[in-house]
Symmetry: C2
């Protein structure tokens, strides 16, 4: 008999909260996104709560936003993922460590080597979030005047994946003999030279590091476009995504899982984890009040710009403290407009509050008590909206503590989340098998 399906939980940790007002929330550490001591304490709490993974998003530039928003943004200084996750590997024991690396602006030899090294140092806890990097400012930090075109980015990403995994397979698992007596350190018969030549990449190999403990670090992907979904189906073992609600989540889940059979993969070999913003209160009203309080910390100038984009209509002339006035329908942004109107109606928000929602964090959110949030998470799992979540904390440490110390015990009580790690590696936590070496038995 199969064990009941359980949630997988990742923590979205760069910046520590995606909400632009988080660093100003009462009790928050304004420097949390860039303090090793704080990040270490968060990682230890998440490990105590048995989270699957600690996830470092990454951007190869200062994020492009108007200066009025940028000067208020806690994203502007952050650690580089490998240095941070390696440091955390030395002070944690079980939690997975997922780093983002770009296939557009890095080299497969470097990427393969660093992830292999992180996997060895952490005893099998590394994961690679493959991104093609959508921020065009990144290109200008790497010698280009313009961004690489979307299709070409994905073509390179696919080939990059083949090269990196091929390099990871350079040595058979039993290649290293280390026989001090005979003086033989390794068996050259158990070493493969990749010699890859493709349209985008030319890489000889072998890698100068033993095969990772996990065989390959866990492959994560977060592209949402058609080529992004196809890359996920062909390569990913975890998909990070951002559906707006359960019905969108179910559609995306069915779409991505539906692509697996055609490439000869089992549905269970890929886990789908939407980003979910979680705000806990003793009552639903308290949770909502906390969220409004947090949203109120978003500066109005950047907030109203975000609302205008969502509406497809300039909102800067509206009375901030009145309800949303009637807005003519346009062809440009039908879904965006409809979503704003629905939200304004449901939560009875003023223009200012609506704007601050869009300027803060407007994605999927679970706002309520541990009970109502556990109900919602259970529904997503049950109705095949997801295999778990990549949790976005509203503010830290409080919002993280609320999840780790209050929500997780409730999920555990319901049998929806592990009460202890069953294995050592990130693959063990996620229920993923160890890939075979393509060159050796």
């Amino acid at each position: 008999m199969n064990a009941a399906r359980q949630l997988h939980l990742g923590a979205f940790m760069r910046p520590v909260s995606l909400h632009t007002g988080a660093w100003r929330y009462p009790g928050a550490y304004p420097d949390a996104n860039f303090s090793f001591a704080r990040l270490k304490s968060f990682a230890l709490k998440l490990e105590a709560a048995k989270f699957d993974a600690f996830f470092m998003a990454d951007h190869l530039a200062v994020l492009n936003m108007p200066i009025e928003a940028l000067r208020r943004s806690h994203t502007v200084t952050s650690f580089e993922p490998f240095t941070l996750l390696s440091a955390l590997a030395a002070v944690t024991e079980r939690i997975g460590l997922v780093a983002t690396a770009s296939t557009t602006f890095d080299q497969p030899y470097h990427v393969a080597r660093r992830f292999a090294s992180l996997d060895h140092i952490s005893a099998g806890r590394a994961g690679w979030n493959i991104v093609t990097t959508s921020n065009p400012d990144a290109a200008r930090n790497f010698g280009l005047d313009e961004h690489v075109e979307h299709g070409e980015r994905y073509a390179r990403a696919r080939e990059f994946f083949d090269v990196v995994t091929g390099l990871w397979d350079s040595f058979a698992d039993d290649a290293f003999i280390r026989d001090a007596e005979s003086g033989i350190f390794f068996d050259p018969e158990r070493l493969h030279v990749l010699d890859h030549t493709g349209p985008e990449l030319k890489v000889r190999g072998p890698l100068n590091i033993a095969r990772p403990p996990q065989g390959w670090p866990v492959i994560v992907q977060a592209g949402q476009s058609e080529p992004g979904r196809q890359l996920a189906a062909e390569t990913a073992e975890v998909v990070f995504c951002s559906p707006r609600d359960l019905s969108a989540g179910k559609a995306l889940y069915a779409d991505i899982k539906g692509r697996l059979a055609a490439v000869g993969r089992a549905p269970d070999s890929l886990k789908i984890l939407p980003a979910a913003f979680v705000v806990i209160g003793d009552t639903v009203e308290e949770a909502r009040a906390r969220r409004l309080r947090l949203d109120s910390l978003v500066h109005y100038d950047s907030a109203i710009a975000s609302l205008s984009i969502a509406l497809g209509h300039d909102a800067s002339g509206f009375d901030p403290d009145a309800p949303l006035p009637p807005i003519p329908e346009t062809n440009d942004s039908k879904t965006g407009r409809a979503q704003v109107l629905k939200l304004a109606e449901e939560e009875r928000l003023t223009v200012r509050q609506l704007a601050q929602r869009y300027g803060g964090y407007a994605g999927l959110a679970f706002v309520g008590t541990v009970d109502t949030v556990a109900d919602e998470m259970a529904a997503w799992l049950e109705e095949k909206g997801s295999d778990g979540f990549n949790v976005v904390f509203p503010y830290l440490p409080q919002g993280l503590d609320d999840v780790a110390e209050r929500l997780v015990p409730e999920l555990q009580r319901r049998g929806l989340f592990r009460t202890d790690y069953a294995g050592q590696t990130l693959r063990d936590h996620l229920g993923l098998s160890r890939p075979k070496n393509r060159f050796f038995e």
Copy 2:
């Protein structure tokens, strides 16, 4: 009054011993070069001994050597420097962490960011060993068929240094206000966009990380050619080098320090640390016997090839267990031949022993008691052969323990080495000042 000059000591840690037979020495850990637990214990011992720095050499390929040598080589699997040093940063407090990064096969935005991140995570203990990468096999792992030409490598290195240091200066030290009350995170007036366009590189900036605690991580350089020395004079704060003996050391020291005035630098702003292989015994005879024992672990096939190269003459037909036969002088390798003959005479070595010396480690070596080795180190310091050493351990843990627990106390007793760290950063340990930000007061 100035304090008496003291030695600076680095530890050459990749591979843990450069000696090819080290992993076979009695008591050695055959997996030490690739075991985080071992490397952590070494770093802690070196820190307890107040070493300036732990140095990770690096190579972007499996080292090119004949397969008979390669299969006996403990270099074939190693950690990537940033992942290893970041992990060590989390478990050490004072020792400097010097990583090697290539200017030929990496991107300045990546390099600037990773060193800045390591410097922040370690609270000011990072150093960058700038290499242009001489191993031609590396080129083939990065899309090229042939190695980049030497002069072009150094031209790129010089420009690369300007870009990396310019990126480190992206933010003024006081740029981050983090005022939760007003919501201002940083002052855009204290942010500089580099906008570099040069013959080799085009990089916009700014870097997405605050200026490193040390201003810039310590700049290390190890090139020996004319452009290598000039790059050192213009940019380096530490030079790693490998003079064969004190007279060569003095010439190199005078040459490099002599170049500083022309570029407007004080002699003391650059420290010269030759690699030194240190073998300690209770008596000089015991130390020599240990070295012979270690050399005897080098396989004869690779040993004799190394000797032939040093002699400029095929030695494979010689009787291994007899003294070196007379060898006709050639024009090809006058110095090499003279050095071999001198060594054969001084230490009365057989062909086999000579070969194993060249196949093991043939560079500068101090072999003796703590007293004789301290005398030699003192002479180098006194006679301006060096400002200290980058110690190569013959075998580990024993050879490292002998230095950390026996030689260092003797150096301390003589006032030649610190008895405790006086400051927090690697710059403090080395007596180097913090560079000014070129864009901000």
